[in-house]
């Protein structure tokens, strides 16, 4: 049990560093976008537990589900940092099974993660009020304390401590759960781990596919990998070429909008055609 102390503690600290509100690594760029990603979390937790390979495999599986974690306007539907570090950390402390990491990450992200996240967002209003008062009173020190120091202490306590406790004391519970569930449930979790990335990708599609005809580009990307077995990097280059052609073509369109009615009609007919096709699918 004692050997779990430092890995759990490090995981808790990483969970703080990967939070959206942590300033140390150039704000969101290094925190949320780098340390907060499950793929990176896998490497870091793997390092903490001294088992990089399994850490990365767990991170890979969790990353696939959370590929499209979006945080627009401060609202989030699943807390990715708690999910990544809590899920991967607990999985590394017990079975090191990627499917278990995914299941735990989703459970933690959707429940405890959201509770802690929303709780912190509410708590910070208290510091905001004090920072505003400091600005009103020309109090430089008050702004620094209430914008930077106190909020960061709050978030450290709300991130590092629960994750540490969950991994340190949750190990027994998770082990018991895993050993006592029937085999069919394990099988379902295994299959589910492969299927749930579909949700992340579906959410990504709903932001990048802005009109139905764009679906054909999605299909092209899918086919290039599934049939042609091209590598991801090759596909990025092909996609960049297609995007460039699209850019050139759209330029032609805007130039010719001098006689705009004809062009507009053309376009609406086009989209309608594709739209009907889409519904038939």
């Amino acid at each position: 049990m004692n050997s779990l102390f430092f890995p759990a503690l490090l995981t808790g600290i990483f969970c703080y560093l990967g939070a959206i509100e942590t300033p140390w690594l150039f704000g969101m760029s290094g925190g949320f976008y780098i340390v907060g990603r499950p793929l990176v979390a896998g490497l870091l937790v793997g390092l903490a537990f001294g088992d990089i390979k399994n850490g990365i495999l767990c991170g890979l599986a969790v990353q696939a589900v959370f590929i499209a974690n979006l945080s627009t306007g401060g609202a989030t539907n699943s807390e990715i940092t708690y999910a990544a570090y809590g899920g991967i950390g607990l999985a590394m402390a017990t079975t090191k099974n990627p499917a278990i990491a995914v299941t735990l990450a989703i459970l933690i992200g959707q429940t405890f993660g959201l509770i802690f996240y929303n709780g912190r967002m509410a708590l910070y209003s208290f510091w905001n009020t004090r920072a505003e008062k400091a600005a009103h009173e020309n109090n430089d020190r008050g702004i620094v304390l209430n914008h930077l120091v106190y909020p960061q202490i709050t978030t450290f306590l709300l991130r590092a401590v629960p994750v540490f406790l969950a991994i340190y004391f949750g190990k027994g519970l998770v082990n018991w759960l895993i050993s006592s569930i029937p085999e069919i449930v394990t099988h379902i979790i295994q299959v589910l781990g492969g299927v749930l990335p579909a949700l992340g990708i579906a959410m990504l599609m709903s932001i990048v596919i802005k009109s139905k005809p764009h679906f054909i580009f999605f299909l092209a990307g899918f086919v290039l990998l599934a049939f042609a077995k091209l590598s991801m990097i090759a596909i990025v280059f092909i996609a960049a070429l297609v995007a460039y052609l699209y850019y050139l073509a759209s330029g032609k369109n805007t130039v010719s909008t001098a006689g705009s009615t004809v062009g507009d009609n053309d376009q609406t007919v086009n989209t309608d055609d594709e739209y009907e096709d889409e519904d038939l699918f």
């Binding site: 509100e21 300033p23 150039f26 704000g27 969101m28 760029s29 780098i34 990603r37 793929l39 896998g42 490497l43 990365i56 991170g59 990353q63 499209a68 979006l70 306007g73 401060g74 989703i106 910070y124 510091w127 905001n128 920072a131 600005a135 009103h136 020309n138 702004i143 914008h147 930077l148 909020p151 099988h187 299959v191 299927v195 749930l196 579909a198 990708i201 579906a202 959410m203 599609m205 990048v208 764009h214 999605f218 299909l219 990307g221 899918f222 990998l225 599934a226 049939f227 590598s231 991801m232 596909i235 990025v236 297609v242 995007a243 460039y244 699209y246 850019y247 759209s250 805007t254 699918f281």
Partner: protein, 277 residues
């Protein structure tokens, strides 16, 4: 504009002071984020050295500066640095006593934060991060640390670079930058990036979703695995069906992620119980 209580001549911001505004906001934009203020207070924090430089002897002006930069503010923090650049050039003009009203920076912040959040979120969260992650994930197959390291280095360079360029071009162009953001050409570029994103997401779907059937179909006397037949027709047909279902639920049915997870759990559970998966 008389600077009666300040006799020393005022100078433009030095490169160092500009960078100070850039990194102060860049490091702490969300440090005190709440639903009430979001990135609001990072502005006041980033203008503290500025206030010390220009308003040392004028507490009233300093107070107004800090107050107008303590209001609610929220945008994509990397591309959004463009606004910080524009505002820095305006605040500099105000401090130098030129004819720019103190309302101007506030108005600029309020009008630009929405459009820049839209552009920034779809390009960074929708395209750049997923592309880099998908490359990283394909490099991490089998547990190789090359995958995460690739992502850390690639985004570690790209994220701050976007932020730096956005801030300094915002400062250089000043209010003129607004045409560049909302202009026709920028829409074409965003659309083209979008196509790039859509194709990569398609490849990502084929690469990450794993769903195979274990059912067997009778063929003459013996039985053959159904998956083999499906692979002959369309490799990855089941993952494709699953992602299209998910997309349809999310975009057409407006379902939340939690509901889609529940639906997928039900499908997989039933599929496993009848021996399909």
């Amino acid at each position: 504009m008389a600077n009666s209580n300040n006799t020393e001549p005022k100078k433009l911001l030095s490169k160092h002071e500009l960078n100070q505004i850039w990194y102060r906001w860049g490091f702490t934009h969300l440090s005190s984020m709440s639903y009430e203020k979001l990135q609001g207070h990072a502005w006041a924090y980033s203008y503290l050295p500025f206030a010390r430089k220009y308003y040392k002897n004028d507490p009233e002006k300093k107070r107004r500066l800090l107050e107008r930069h303590s209001m609610f503010y929220n945008t994509e923090p990397q591309t959004g640095q463009l606004i910080n650049g524009i505002v820095a050039s305006l605040e500099e003009q105000i401090a130098l006593g030129n004819d720019v009203s103190e309302e101007m920076p506030v108005t600029i912040k309020a009008t630009l934060m929405g459009p820049l959040a839209g552009i920034g979120d779809s390009i960074i969260q929708g395209i750049i991060v997923p592309i880099l992650l998908s490359i990283g994930m394909s490099l991490a197959k089998g547990g190789s640390p090359v995958g995460p390291l690739f992502y850390i280095i690639a985004y570690g360079i790209i994220g701050p670079t976007i932020s730096y360029i956005a801030f300094h071009s915002g400062y250089r162009l000043g209010v003129g930058a607004i045409d560049t953001i909302v202009g026709e050409n920028s829409k074409r570029i965003t659309d083209a990036f979008n196509i790039l994103g859509v194709m990569v997401v398609g490849a990502l779907a084929a690469n990450t979703i794993v769903l195979k059937t274990i059912a067997k179909i009778p063929q003459g006397g013996k039985s053959a695995p159904l998956q083999g037949v499906l692979d002959g027709i369309f490799p990855g047909l089941l993952p494709l069906a699953m992602v299209i279902l998910g997309w349809w639920l999310v975009s057409s049915k407006q379902m939340t992620a939690t509901k889609v997870i529940i639906i997928m759990v039900v499908i997989v559970t039933l599929g496993c119980l009848v021996g399909l998966f």
